[in-house]
Amino acid sequence: MKNVFLIKYGELAIKGKNRHLFENRLLSNIKKNLKSLGEFLVTKEQGRIMVEPVEEDSIDVNTVLNRLSRIFGIVGIAYGLKAEEVSFDAVKRLALAQMTEECADKNITFKVETKRADKRFPMTSMEVSCELGAYLLEALGDKVKVDVHNPDVFLMVELRNHAYVYAKTHKGAGGMPYGTNGKATLLLSGGIDSPVAGWMIAKRGVEVDAVYFHAPPYTSDRAKQKVVDLAEKVAMYTGSMNLHIVNFTDIQLKIYELCPHEQLTIIMRRIMMYISEAIAKKNGSMALITGESIGQVASQTMHSLVCTNEAATMPVFRPLIGFDKEEIVQIAKRIDTFETSIQPFEDCCTIFVAKHPETKPKLEQIERSERALDEIIDEMMQKAIDEVEVVKIR
């Protein structure tokens, strides 16, 4: 009898002939993620991935569960028991051990359900469930009662190449295995929204790089560190991330000098789009990701978004577009980026925010204003791109 983590992955199972690609990627992501926690045997077994600690005593189950629950592509994780031989006797032993633990400190109701992947097994699923229930009632006496409608413990039996028994399934992160769906570049600001946007796209299996626009002395080294910290938080899910840091000060000052004040933010964001796209192309990305949500601030009104969007030729993914702030905050708290996001280090850029910014900019009007930058901006952008600093987060 051994302890084992059973990994369930729903959506992958329907991916037809490509299924093994997704499974193999998930397998290697799991291995990579658990590496620092000890030695594990990670194997595929008919629609499940099994994770067995080599030395059971050296691992902390909750730490492993926590780590597994951050891996995209996993729908559920159960921690249970495994027997090498697939026999009803073995199942009885596993079930008794599991249930003894469940009812150790209180009386419980339970229900047994059986999945039989190996149809050669001499009993049907129903027969296994019934006979096992009867056996447990007899073995555990008053401590347990059957309740098929609303049991305290849902005892699962799975008969595959080996026999498995478990009681509780923990929720996984869902989504698709990281790295199975191309690459995109996230505009990461240090606020609440952009890390959530990056996380959401990464959840769909997309590899994510990030770009941060640093404007010393208007933004401090602590503001930059905060963005690195945020990238690390997102990388807790993705495993790794390249953060591209662009020095934006000169460009920002030039815009301030040469363009109308109420359009500064829009023009700045458009230039950020150009630069991000150039960086994205270089690193093999096929799309950009932003944390924009309609109407949240002046630069995210429909009119502003249209102007910003026009600056990019790649698709721009805005997973938060229809979210309210409160909804975004909830996710930020769940994925543990919120506390980092609300550290107040980025105040200084407020110098570049107009008192009454344009909320309904027209593209032609913005382009006209940008003509003031025509002679210098290409060179300045090229310089910013050439001098980008890359922080590799592992």
Binding site: P216, P217, Y218, S220, D221, L253, Y256, E257, H261, Q343, P344, F345, D347, C348, T350, I351, F352, A354, K355
Partner: protein
């Protein structure tokens, strides 16, 4: 490093070489626990006793009135909470000022939440407390008055001797706590003459190690301990004494007290030159707090119109000039302009204040360099102001 100009000495100072040596030496050779009965313990105890004698002498106290803590914050917490708890049967009123360091201010807020009546005595536009008001505030219910000696933001020096006498005249049982974190070692302090019952000191503000504080406690007064445990330091502050830290603090204190006057004057010369240099060459600048010579020689707070202090700070950082906007302990939080706001300063001026703070080794040529850099950079920064270009 040689181009670095460190003018943030009110936040913390660079330890002296002799301090580093003393800490290292004690750490390597005198590792005994002062409470141990054997020779090694005795050695460590002797180091601490000698240090206590020296510290006590500097402020006119007795060696047994010196308590070692982990720093200014612990000293302030211990004195204020400890005294309030010990004397709460005598009265319920405690008094402080609106310009205290958070390690005093927050303790008063806590005590207020615990049912004490907290009064704040007003300050004028230079940061001096209103003595007349203090007089009327002290009644027979007043158990404690806490006033800082030198203000960390603007350098105002409170007349603590006068305050001490005034307090005891109103109610001789009212205790007097002085936060001397920014003044010990730099200005003379005599606790008995100033009628001080508690005095807080932090070693790293005068070239000593971090993590060491002193608390003078008048032995005639009681104080509840905050830390319970092995009963060290006569049961007032449990925990194994930090012998290396104390030895380092002693080395620092010996240096600053031996050269107190000359260090004070050399810092005053730097301060004067910097203040004059800025005020004369850069328009729309002003001093926050008392006049140059009136306030402490090591703190200068200057306002720069139309410049965000934090931006200026990071600009100077690019030239390896290190200054502060608001107190460094608190500048991560909103509302670090609390002290300036208490002086009646309003609006954008709160956000335009830079604190320069000097050390024994601040050089005049460094000051000239700072004036030069400010002269170049301020006009550049003023081109980019909040809310759009100035007409």
């Amino acid at each position: 490093m040689e181009t670095e100009i460190y003018l943030d000495n009110a936040a913390t100072t660079k330890p002296l070489d002799c301090v580093v040596e003393a800490v290292k030496d004690t750490m390597m050779h005198n590792y005994g626990n002062p409470s141990s009965l054997h020779k090694r313990g005795m050695e460590a105890e002797t180091i601490i006793k000698e240090a206590s004698k020296f510290f006590a002498m500097q402020i006119g106290a007795l060696p047994e009135e010196i308590i070692y803590t982990s720093g200014g914050t612990e000293s302030n917490n211990t004195a204020i909470v400890g005294a309030a708890m010990a004397y709460k049967r005598r009265g319920n009123k405690i008094i402080t000022t609106p310009i205290e360091h958070p390690s005093v201010g927050e303790v008063f807020n806590y005590l207020e939440s615990q049912g004490f009546e907290v009064c704040h005595v007003g300050v004028d536009e230079k940061g001096y407390i209103n003595l007349e008001e203090l007089k009327t505030l002290i009644d027979n219910q007043t158990i404690l008055v806490s006033v800082m000696h030198v203000n960390n933001e603007i350098g105002t020096i409170q007349p603590i001797e006068e305050i001490g006498k005034l307090i005891k005249l109103q109610n001789k049982e009212t205790l007097f706590h002085v936060d001397a974190v920014q003044s010990f070692g730099k200005l003379p302090i005599q606790v008995k003459r100033s009628k001080i019952d508690f005095l807080s000191v932090s070693a790293h503000k005068f070239y000593g190690p971090r993590g060491v504080g002193l608390l003078y406690k008048n032995k005639a007064v009681r104080m509840q301990s905050l830390l319970l445990g092995g009963g060290q330091q006569k049961n007032v502050r449990s925990g194994t004494e930090n012998t290396p830290g104390i030895a380092g603090t002693l080395a620092a204190c010996q240096y600053v007290t031996a050269h107190q006057k000359e260090i004070y004057e050399s810092m005053m010369a730097c301060k004067k030159r910097l203040a004059e240099g800025i005020l004369e060459t850069i328009p729309n600048t002003w001093i926050n707090g008392p006049s140059i010579e009136e306030s402490a020689s090591y703190i200068l707070n200057i306002g720069f119109e139309d410049v965000r202090a934090e931006v200026l700070l990071h600009t100077l950082e690019q030239f390896e000039i290190y200054v502060s906007s608001g107190s460094a302990c608190s500048s991560h939080k909103k509302g670090h302009g609390d002290v300036l706001a208490a002086l009646g300063i309003k609006g954008a001026a709160l956000d335009s204040a830079i604190r320069f703070s000097f050390a024994h080794d601040t050089k005049m040529e460094d000051i000239e360099r700072v004036i030069e850099v400010l002269g170049e950079q301020i006009p550049l920064l003023r081109r980019y102001t909040v809310g759009g270009k100035k007409k």
